[in-house]
Amino acid sequence: MTASALSRVERSSLVRAPRSRVWQALTNIKEFSKWFGVEAEDEFAPGARLRMISTHESYKGVEFFVDVVKMDAPETFSWRWYPGLKQPGEDNSSEPATLVEFRLTEVEGGTLVTVVESGFDGLSLARRARVFEENDKGWEFQLASLTRYAGQTA
């Protein structure tokens, strides 16, 4: 067992598109909204805080915030977030957040997109859990879409 295996999540996927195109899909808020499944008004910029509302069928209406950390075109894009439901009037921005980092690497046939989420050592996991409390179908949906996409994800 490696130490990192218990403190972070890393996933990657080969996308058959040029890196500049992937970068745009990642950092242009209109395009991002489409595949990530959110509504957001502001643009991504280093240091910016974006308010997002999920349009995902399982988490519809769930509000969350993303604090952009780094935008290093066309390679690295990272943010911190405080996943989970807020109670009305509650401010969770002082709570521990996890760091999400996207890395784009040019490979033969396209772009390798790697996402690393780290920092699962605070309250964020418990907070994130509350999303599922509100939604009985959450995981069923995730598992279904995983199965559906399994053949397509490299």
Binding site: F36, R130, T153
Partner: protein, 114 residues
């Protein structure tokens, strides 16, 4: 699994991840993952920390249910609570599945353009 139960399990996971949010403790978990119970003396071997410091870290891990201490003669032997470690792993796997879904949607969107 019903979402309510899963949610309770994820909440229960927070102390576990807090306990693991330290390089020394992660190393202790890794050392114990061979399966054989070890004494403080064995666990301190080659470590830059004192036995007292190691003991303190082991107690944090014990409080999170990740390790168990058992008296063996005059010595306290420490072992991994494998079930708890696997639970932590499984919780991270669930989060990883969400990222799989997101990356798959990104891929689909970009490759459909062609």
């Amino acid at each position: 699994m019903p979402a309510k139960r899963l949610s309770a399990e994820l909440s229960a996971g927070a102390p576990v991840f807090a306990a693991l949010g330290d390089a020394t403790r992660l190393r202790l978990v890794a050392r114990l993952s061979g399966g054989r119970p070890q004494s403080i003396t064995q666990l301190s071997a080659g470590a830059a920390l004192t036995r007292q410091a190691i003991t303190k870290h082991l107690h944090v891990l014990e409080d999170a249910g990740l390790v168990r201490g058992r008296k063996h003669g005059r010595e306290q032997m420490w072992e991994l609570n494998l079930r708890q470690v696997q639970e932590a792993r499984r919780r991270l796997d669930l989060i990883a599945q969400q990222w799989d879904g997101a990356l798959a949607r990104l891929k689909l969107m970009l490759e459909e353009e062609e």
